[in-house]
């Protein structure tokens, strides 16, 4: 019988944790959330010799001090769940900063295996690391790796296996904190040992955390009913403050000193050589070229996404055309036939056609993220944003908004300043999420043949410009003061692997598939019902409920040149943007057509001009992205006032921008 063990992967952000997680577990993984928080929890499994090993991928953190949700999640798992081993992934080319977390893991009593990743980059920098010596000092196995090239996985699996088998519970690597502080730690350790509620924790770790004034640990001691220890720790802390330094700073300094001492023994630094990362950064973060290159990359992304997806779109189109024909020739009941062909196949099919675009977009964004370029994009944009009074910290959640606004708004939790956070939440929906892409592709393909990629890119650009302008306006009107500065790490560039990017693409793109099977399906069935009745199947859509609703709403949009179908599609798009396209598919009843995409485009050409189509795309970009986004704005702001404000300003801005485009188009003589 095979034994079951649990291991955790811990490390700083951008050290190759995901690559190692994927390398260890392959396809045997699933994603969930940590209890009580919206931090992603990845679990995977693999078997090695006689051991079934469950792998938990902890969030990337720089330390185990619980300042952020990610750090709290990682620390709680290590000290509470006590996995059989913690694989600490260390970036060898950045070993000094990474070892700080290693030291904290060992202090917490974790059974650590160090995966010394990116050895090739360290060597490229001229660094030589004595891994045996390092292992001796840390009293933990150290495995050199180049995970992206698949180097070191066998050794890592063996090291984990051996470490779990040996199960060295009491590792005695300890940092010396100076005679006086050590005396205090030992004294507190004795008290902690007597407190029944603290038996599961390493005594020395609890003592150090009490002296660091760690609120979470203090609460644990309080819950254990050992108030005396808290009082004693408080008095020692005051003493340290008077004689030495702020205790928190003191302990951090001592850990860094310890890391320096280790490196003095195990690391030989070579002469400064320019790595490829250094050379690329010279231009990609350049004050003149940084932003233009970022724009070039985004343009290429959308050009690629639109054009290369075409054959796959047409293949899906042909499939749905065939499916529609099969359905209509096999279903005799007119109402059911209409529901299946016009409603379900026409509606859901017209949305699913855009699946290749969405997958390709996520694939390219994953390539950019995995290569390390997106960090540079955040950096170059931060400079520009800070100059006009915006927080650079907002840019990372804004970039996430290109995928989906819901997690992007949740990601604003990393912004400590409330004003900066509120501004970011309020403008985030202006970043064009993947749900808007089907609308752009449909209209660009119908009206801007030959320059579709650039027209789609212009929508994304418009979103960015509006987000910047709105941030500026909100800062001036409601949130006066200076934005907080952005401090971020630039990971070295890495050659992205197709496998890792494909996994990222699937994780994000499959959300679209789930949506198509649930909310979009439900939406198009409702739209089919409203556009078929009261007359019944085959009746004129002009006499349907949806036409009544459309004629009622249409006067609002009449100055923009849109008909009632356009108006009503926007109303349903409130639930999810893809439904705008699904609604058109249902209105034109194209489920049994062989080339439904072409027919839909032809129908649109009869209802819009290029100017009114462009204005419609802009409106679809700006007005509220979906119900889920409204929900998350309420959840994250904790205020109905700001939620309603967000909905109102986006509606107003959408109308204003669409009106300006229409007026400018007419003034310039475009039809």
């Amino acid at each position: 019988m095979k034994s079951k063990v649990k291991i955790a992967l811990a490390g700083n952000p951008n050290v190759g944790k995901t690559v190692i997680f994927n390398g260890l577990t392959g396809s045997r993984q699933h994603v969930g959330n940590w209890p009580g928080v919206t931090v992603e929890k990845k679990l995977g499994k693999y078997t090695h010799h006689d051991m079934n090993i469950e792998v938990v991928d902890l969030p990337g953190t720089y330390s185990l001090s619980p300042y952020s949700i990610d750090e709290k999640v990682a620390r709680d798992y290590i000290v509470e769940e006590k996995p059989d081993a913690v694989v600490n992934i260390v970036d060898a080319s950045n070993i000094e900063r990474n070892l700080y977390l290693t030291v904290q893991l060992l202090e917490a009593g974790a059974n650590v295996v160090v995966a010394l990743n990116m050895m090739d980059e360290a060597e490229a920098k001229g660094m030589k690391i004595d891994t045996e010596k390092l292992s001796e000092i840390l009293k933990a196995p150290v495995v050199p790796m180049v995970a992206v090239k698949g180097i070191g996985f066998k050794d890592l699996k063996d090291a984990i296996y051996e470490e779990v088998k040996k199960h060295k519970e009491h590792r005695h690597m300890s940092i010396g904190y100076g005679r006086e502080v050590e005396k205090a730690i030992v004294s507190l350790e004795g008290d902690v040992g007597k407190c029944p509620g603290l038996k599961k924790y390493r005594k020395r770790w609890v003592a150090i955390k009490l002296l660091e004034n760690d609120k979470e640990v203090i609460q644990k001691v309080r819950d254990g009913g050992c108030m005396d220890i808290i009082k004693k720790a408080e008095s020692i802390r005051e003493d340290i403050s008077k004689k030495l330094d702020d205790p928190e700073t003191y302990f951090a300094d001592k850990r860094y000193e310890f890391v320096d001492d280790i490196l003095g023994v195990v690391l030989i630094k070579g002469k400064k050589v320019w790595t490829f990362s250094d050379m690329l950064d010279k231009v990609l973060t350049h004050k003149i070229f940084g932003i233009p290159v970022f724009l070039a990359m985004m343009w290429a992304t959308f050009q690629f996404t639109f054009s290369v997806a075409t054959p796959f779109m047409d293949a899906i189109d042909v499939f749905f055309g065939w499916l529609g024909n099969v359905a209509s020739s096999n279903i005799s009941n007119p109402a059911l036939q209409s529901l299946v062909t016009d409603g379900i196949i026409g509606g859901v099919g017209s949305v699913l056609i855009f699946l290749p675009n969405i997958f390709l977009l996520f694939f390219v964004l994953s390539l950019m993220e995995d290569s390390g370029y997106l960090s540079r994009a955040a950096f170059v944009m931060d400079k520009a944003m800070y100059k006009i009074g915006l927080s650079g910290k907002s840019f990372v959640p804004m970039l996430l908004g290109f995928g989906c606004n819901v997690p992007a708004i949740m990601a604003t939790r990393t912004i400590e300043d409330r004003k900066d956070r509120l501004i970011t939440i309020l403008v985030n929906p202006l970043m064009s999420c993947s749900a808007r892409l089907p609308v752009y592709i449909l209209f660009a393909g119908a009206f801007f043949i030959g320059i579709e990629g650039s027209v789609i890119f212009s929508m994304y650009l418009l979103g960015i410009v509006l987000a910047i302008l709105m941030s500026l306006l909100l800062r001036k009107l409601f949130f006066r003061g200076k934005p907080s500065p952005l401090i971020m790490e630039m990971p070295p560039y890495r050659m992205p692997t197709v496998k890792s990017s494909a996994i990222h693409m699937w994780e994000k793109g499959s959300m679209f598939l789930k949506k198509a099977g649930t909310i979009i399906f439900l939406g198009v069935v409702i739209i089919w019902f409203l556009s078929t009745y009261p007359g019944g199947a085959g009746s004129d859509i002009e006499n349907s409920y949806v036409a009544m609703l459309g004629h009622w709403v249409q006067p609002i949009f009449a100055p923009l040149g849109w008909d009632w179908k356009a108006a009503v599609a926007l109303v349903f798009g409130f639930v999810a943007k893809e439904i705008v396209v699904g609604a058109y598919g249902t209105f034109y009843g194209i489920g049994d057509a062989d080339e439904e995409n072409q027919i839909l485009r032809g129908a649109l050409q009869g209802a819009f001009t290029p100017v009114s189509a462009y204005a419609y795309m802009a409106f679809a970009l700006i007005y509220v992205p979906c119900l889920a986004t409204i929900g998350v704005i309420k959840q994250e702001t904790g205020s109905w006032k700001w939620t309603l404000f967000a909905v109102a300003y986006m509606m107003g801005l959408a109308y204003l921008v669409a009106a300006v485009i229409t007026a400018a188009g007419h003034l310039l003589g475009f039809a």
């Binding site: 320019w274 250094d278 010279k282 231009v283 290369v308 054959p311």
Partner: protein, 141 residues
């Protein structure tokens, strides 16, 4: 190496100037409409802007490159990478269109403007520039 750097450096700068010129033509053609040229531009302002940026990067620190400085090599490297991204992207678009024609049963024809032939040609012409990167250890601060 120095002589080789000089030759390839000057050659890359010439290609850079060609990129800039064609980028400008693309941008002007967007504003003025179709141009009567052997290689008619696609009239895509963004495509023009990107070509202009690639050309500028290739030319911007040419002196530093000829002086065997890393900074010059950095600009050449990024120019080469961007040129490859754009060139390969247009080739993929061409392949995708050919595949699409096969799927829907239409006849496919090569369209120099749609596939931005000059961008593909300049990418191919710039390929010798990669030869310098191999000898990067000989560069200095």
């Amino acid at each position: 190496m120095n002589g080789k750097v000089r030759v390839i450096g000057v050659y890359s700068a010439i290609i850079g100037i060609a990129y800039m010129a064609y980028g400008l033509i693309e941008m002007i053609s967007w504003a003025t409409g179709a141009m009567d040229m052997p290689l008619s531009p696609s009239q895509d302002i963004f495509a023009g802007f990107i070509l202009l940026i690639i050309g500028s990067i290739l030319v911007y620190r040419i002196k530093a490159l000829l002086d065997m400085k890393y900074e010059g090599l950095s600009f050449l490297l990024v120019g080469l990478v961007l040129s490859a991204i754009i060139g390969i992207m247009y080739m993929l678009i061409m392949g995708a269109d050919a595949l699409d024609a096969a799927i829907i049963g239409e006849h496919w024809e090569f369209d120099a403007a749609a596939y931005n032939l000059p961008a593909i040609a300049l990418f191919i012409l710039l390929l010798p520039g990669w030869l310098i990167i191999k000898g990067r250890d000989e560069f200095g601060e």
